[in-house]
Amino acid sequence: MNLKFFSIDLKNKKRLIPQVLTLLSIVLAISYFAFNAQVNMNNRGIAFGFGFLTQEASFDIGFSLIDYDGSHSYARAFLVGLLNTLLVSVIGIFFATLIGVTVGIGRLSSNFLVAKFSEVYVEVFRNIPLLLQLFFWYFAALRALPLPEQAINFYDISYLTVKGWYVPKFIWTNFSIFIYSILAAIVAITFVSKHAKKQREEFGKHIPSFYIGIVLLFTFPALSFFIGGVTLDFEIPVLKQMSTTIFNFRGGVSIIPELMALAMALSMYTATFIAENVRAGILGIGKGQKEAAASIGLTNTQILKLVVLPQALRIIIPPTTNQYLNLTKNSSLAAAIAYPDIVLVFAGTALMQTGRAIEIVSITMGTYLLISLSISSFMNWYNQSVAIKEK
């Protein structure tokens, strides 16, 4: 082991001074604020501590991915809010990417209508404040959707109403075995595709790994049903009358209009930025490359798929990561339309009921930081995996 790296170069000591000073001032500033907050809180009779997290929350939440009611703790309410935030962010990121890539490619289309439509889309949705769009989608949805007794009926198993979109609920037995079968299928598929690649590269033999993969993806779960003891039942929502004019669906799962409106607003808005990234990425690839690809006889789709996109991705991913982060943070606008995300449930209701402003706000900030860091490190990893590898 070479200890030389660990000893401080005396001649360079001076260069350390500004850094130490900066660090010191940050530490001092933080302790100053903490101290000050402590003093002020003492003066005003406010206690500090995280004990409240185990207390009974005593408020209900309308939409939850896990079992929750007001008799659960504040910590559980936090989890409900966090999962709701993650849910709408994942849905939002999925659709934003889908719309963004489509529109981004559309803007470069040689078809005038497609290009113009894409441009108008970007200009309109990028320039209207997100909160306004959110209200628009929410109240437009509420106005447009019918009351439960006049629900839009999808084959008698699913109904769209102003109170939500009711879909059948899956009732599983031995669900974990089903999950294992999927995992097993994924492992098998990776194995097959690795093998196929090797065969192709070493012996020039073509193995239809894609079709084999599809067959595997179906056979493994199917086996879990036939021999693994997995069963699946559906609970179909049914209309119930609750008074002369009040109806509602019972049973099934309700996708609430707040979630639909929020996911819609977030993805439509963020898609405009992603579209611009995609456009910039594609334009960033030299014309010569496309011409070269065309000259060896590749079709337009092949050029896009094999030549342009792999390189463009490296330009597209970093700014798009930013957009994913923005979308996640923007999901906190949920409170405006009563979607119970972490801000509404925890930094809103729980804060109000407990008065633990400092504790709750720091937990919430820490949570957002953690989510953001996870997204960026995932995207960095992905970016590295698509980066050009020197062979």
Partner: protein, 347 residues
């Protein structure tokens, strides 16, 4: 260069620490820091709702009125001599306590329910009650629901987040074994819009709030408030904990308005009652005793409140009764007339 830079940083820290120590000293002196700051600024910093007719509501010109607003106006009349010297900050239910604790406002007068946990736990002090209320439910008239006993499992209920309403609602539906879908918005306008659009079957909040919000609906006559009251909601002004003098000023500004009604003193006759026979009336209009000096005010503080703002009966009539929100005073009648308004004597 580096040396002077270092010195500056050192000086900076030293002063920061000094400031911190100074702040520690405050809080337990006899003088009122809030009163001093208010007099220096020339206006009372008052937190109100984002628009609740009868309680705190701004007209198109931005002038605030309502019985909650009048508490702040009374304090301004008492400490600044002019009831109009108030700066209003509209707050959602969720923001209100943070705004008060952080010092953004000095009085919170925003249909806020006095509860043990709010009073004891979070650095707040309730000074009195200016409206006795209770939680109720609003439904569509054609719903066929005539009482809370007609509610059935699966009902969806809209309300405001960060309120006592949210908690009472759970207690109520649980006790009746009814499963329900709560939908809690931050702003009252959105609650009303969602209820209006049919997103929820019932709208629940303080009955005064229901009556007031109903006036804002697209067709008020299509809705009705159910007869039952499911909770006690004593609404009143709140101040920060730790400034006992300021707390007293706000409490007694409210009490004076109620007591003035009790003794028949109102905005038009107050100054002519200076030579009244009744010593209690004389104390209210400042011609006997030295009540103001107890919190460092002159002796006419209460006269100004009555003259510029009015007694409780006057402000109730003006904001709540004549506007049709709650024509009947119910519990908010004086104790001498069958209500429960009963305040400690100003003497």
């Amino acid at each position: 260069m580096l040396k002077t830079f270092k010195n500056w940083i050192l000086i900076g820290f030293a002063s920061l620490i000094l400031v911190a120590c100074q702040q520690q000293g405050g809080g337990n002196s006899k003088k009122s820091k809030t009163l001093e700051n208010t007099q220096k600024a020339g206006f009372v910093k008052c937190g109100v709702s984002q628009g609740l007719p009868g309680f705190s509501n701004a007209d198109t010109a931005g002038n605030w009125s309502g019985i909650d607003v009048d508490v702040c106006r009374a304090v301004a009349a008492a400490v600044l001599g002019d009831a109009d010297k108030v700066k209003y900050t509209p707050l959602s239910a969720k923001e209100r306590f943070t705004a008060l604790i952080a010092g953004e406002i000095d009085i919170l007068s925003r249909n806020t329910t006095w509860t043990l946990s709010r009073d004891a736990d979070i650095g707040l002090t309730f000074v009195g009650v200016n409206f006795y209320d209770g939680q109720g439910f609003m439904v569509r008239k054609n719903s066929g629901i005539n009482s809370v006993n007609d509610f059935q499992s699966g009902i969806s209920a809209c309300t405001n987040t960060g309120t006592t309403t949210e908690l009472n609602m759970r207690d109520f539906f649980n006790s009746k074994n009814i499963s329900y879908e709560p939908i809690a918005f931050e702003k009252a306008d959105e609650v009303v819009a969602a209820y209006d659009a049919g997103r929820c079957d019932t709208y629940t909040t303080d009955k005064s709030g229901l009556a007031a919000q109903r006036t804002k609906m697209s067709s008020p006559d299509d809705h009705k408030v159910l007869p039952e009251t499911i909770s006690k909601e004593p609404l009143g002004p709140v101040v920060r904990q730790g400034d006992a003098v300021w707390e007293d000023i706000v409490r007694w500004s409210l009490n004076v308005m109620i007591e003035a009604e009790e003794y028949g003193v109102n905005s038009s006759n107050a100054s002519s009652l200076k030579d009244s026979e009744n010593p209690q009336i004389k104390r209210l209009v400042g011609s006997e005793g030295e009540l103001g000096s107890a919190f460092g005010l002159d002796n006419e503080w209460s006269l100004r409140i009555i003259e510029q703002v009015g007694n409780y009966g006057e402000i109730y009539e003006k904001h709540i009764a004549s506007t049709g929100i709650m024509p009947d005073r119910g519990p908010n009648e004086l104790w001498t007339k069958g209500g429960i308004l009963y305040v400690a004597p100003a003497r």
